[in-house]
Amino acid sequence: MAKLDSAKSFEAEKEHAGKTEPKLNGTLLSVMLVGGFIILSWIGVYALYLSR
């Protein structure tokens, strides 16, 4: 559960989050692959539309 404590701990959290962003290289590559798949399928059907 997210905390609604004091503003102080909020600031601390923010700093913490800002300094040590977790390592998510695999995530970025994965979503980019998803994006690539979407773009390729879209272009495929668009090409079909143009060719008909």
């Binding site: 609604l4 909020f10 995530t27 998803v34 079909l48």
Partner: protein
């Protein structure tokens, strides 16, 4: 915490819903199997059953009955889990809703069985079913509103008892789902109660067809988000716990649900792109709004991968994809929903194509569309619901998911994915070739192109057979978990938020604000086109019974 069972009375309410849902899956699955056999020319239906009668039953049982019952059962259980035992009022509303919905379902089913309603689950006028078919559907919707009111009340009680506190994520998402449903169903309720029922009783002679279709599709698109959001609840809240990780970000999860509420309703014209009477401009405006609703799904994709990667790295995974190996592949509670997520990638890509204005001409009303929603609702959503059932049913019945049943559930998932890849893959391909959906066996007088579709229809039947076996395995598991599995305590997995995630802004829970923006967007997208539809209306249509 998750080792305590939810209140037994609440469990009973949830179970009653879930059982009806799975009975619908079994009956609908039988219809689906027969459809694939008819379409490929392998059989003709006995005893005067019509293909379209069967298809009406399949659509109503699976798309409307299974989904709605399972969703309400699941959401009630999670609300009881996260906000505490249901108060008397909300529980009574839950049961009232259940009985009203079930009355409606029975009436509707009888009308389909007596062949008085072979109008398919979208019941487009001016095909005219028996008035009782529409009355049954209206009762299902009204019942679901009563259930929704119960959830809203439970949530309000919790807010009152915990002033200034952020609500549990599950309950927030459940309320958002039911709110979306409430606003969306106003459209279908309007056409059913104000147009279809008076017209089918003969109180009025004719109906405004385009208005009825527009009101239907005002509801039809958010309907698919009503199916999807509970699956997203599982992905956001339940899965992190099962894989031993944390919820990536509470605020981003809530933000994505807010965006779904805002942008999933003012977009219905993307189902009417090829019809007369709606101007190019308004179609394109709604296409643009449709693209906005893709954004929260992009956010979800990131959050899910991030949850997996973070938990994997915490367990010592290294490299770009080391975390993949740390996922609990053998745990059916994870594996089934995970395959659902994976299938959502091609499903979502297909959806973007469908909504792309004139690209819709390539696929509209072809089997591509049927292939598309068997990926979205019949795989992404269905597999996630199955995955939920594997722990939820034993949790509710006070039994446990044994190793053996867990293995069987994994086999079920594989059968489903393989069968669906075949059936949906064939549907997508033959759809691009132009084969129409909702069409019984035909070769159009041995027209060569249509003959060329038959092999794909055979592939659909093979895939459909896998799927049907999958349904039998599923039903065996459900029955076993309900009545025969060993007694014990099955956990209700509710995830916790990652330490580094920051505080959730209170604005995300400002319901007045979001309902206001939602209504404003709907008024923007629909006021002018609906005024035009009414002002320029042609003389109405009488009813037809062409089956």
């Amino acid at each position: 915490m998750e080792t305590t069972l939810i209140n037994r009375k609440d469990a009973k309410l949830s179970l009653a819903h879930i059982y009806v849902g799975f009975i619908a899956v079994l009956l609908g699955g039988i219809a689906g199997l027969l459809q694939t056999f008819v379409r490929s020319g392998a059989i003709t239906l006995p005893a005067g059953i019509g293909y379209y009668q069967l298809l009406t039953a399949h659509g109503v049982l699976l798309a409307l009955v299974f989904t709605t019952y399972f969703i309400i059962g699941f959401l009630y259980s999670g609300i009881s889990k996260t906000t505490g035992t249901l108060a008397e009022g909300p529980r009574k509303l839950g049961w009232a809703g259940y009985y009203v919905m079930t009355t409606g379902t029975v009436i509707t089913t009888i009308m389909i069985l007596t062949n008085d309603a072979s109008v398919l689950y979208t019941f487009y006028a001016p095909l005219q079913a028996s008035p009782w078919f529409y009355i049954g559907l209206a009762l299902v919707v009204i019942g679901s509103w009563i259930s929704g009111a119960g959830m809203f009340r439970q949530y309000r009680n919790w807010k009152k008892a915990n002033p200034g506190q952020l609500s549990p994520l599950f309950s927030f998402m459940a309320v958002m789902t039911m709110l979306l449903w409430l606003i969306a169903t106003l459209g279908v309720a309007a056409t059913v109660v104000l147009q279809l029922i008076p017209w089918s009783f003969g109180w009025v002679d004719t109906i405004n067809v385009l208005l009825s279709r527009t009101l239907f599709w005002y509801f039809g698109h958010p309907l698919v988000y009503f199916w999807l959001l509970p699956a997203y609840i599982c992905w956001y809240v339940i899965i992190p716990k099962i894989i031993g990780g944390k919820i990536f970000s509470d605020s981003l999860a809530r933000l994505s649900f807010v965006l779904f509420l805002l942008f999933s309703i003012p977009v219905g014209f993307h189902h009417q792109l090829l019809e007369s009477g709606v101007s190019h401009t308004w179609k394109f405006i709604q296409v643009t709004l449709t693209f906005m609703v893709i954004v929260p799904s992009l956010m979800t994709a990131f959050s899910l991968f991030a949850t997996f990667e973070l938990s994997g790295r915490q367990k010592g995974a290294r490299g770009l994809f080391g975390w993949v190996k740390k996922l609990p592949w053998k745990d059916a509670r994870f594996f089934a929903p995970f395959m659902g997520m994976l299938i959502f990638i091609p499903a979502g890509a297909g959806g973007i194509i469908n909504a792309s204005n004139q690209l819709n001409q390539v696929i509209h009303n072809t089997l591509w569309v049927t292939g598309h929603f068997h990926l979205t609702v019949a795989t992404s959503v269905a597999l996630t619901f199955f995955g939920i059932a594997y722990w939820l049913i034993p949790h509710l019945t006070g039994r446990t998911l044994t190793k053996k049943i867990n293995l069987l559930a994994n086999i079920q998932t594989i059968i489903w994915v393989v069968g669906m890849a075949m059936m949906s893959g064939a549907m997508h391909t033959v759809g691009l070739l132009g084969a129409p959906r909702r069409t019984a066996y035909t070769t159009y007088g041995d027209y060569p192109d249509a003959l060329g579709w038959i092999p794909y229809e055979v592939a659909m039947a093979v895939g459909g057979s896998f799927l049907f076996i999958g349904i039998l395995v599923l039903i065996y598991i459900v029955v076993h978990l309900s009545f025969f599995a060993p007694k014990g305590v099955e956990a209700y997995p509710i995830g916790e938020v990652a330490d580094q995630a920051e505080r959730t802004p209170a604005i995300l829970e400002n319901w007045k604000l979001w309902i206001g923006v939602c209504v404003a967007l709907i008024l923007f997208a629909y006021t002018i086109p609906i005024m035009e539809i009414i002002e320029n209306a042609p003389p109405g249509s009488p009813g037809f019974r062409l089956w």
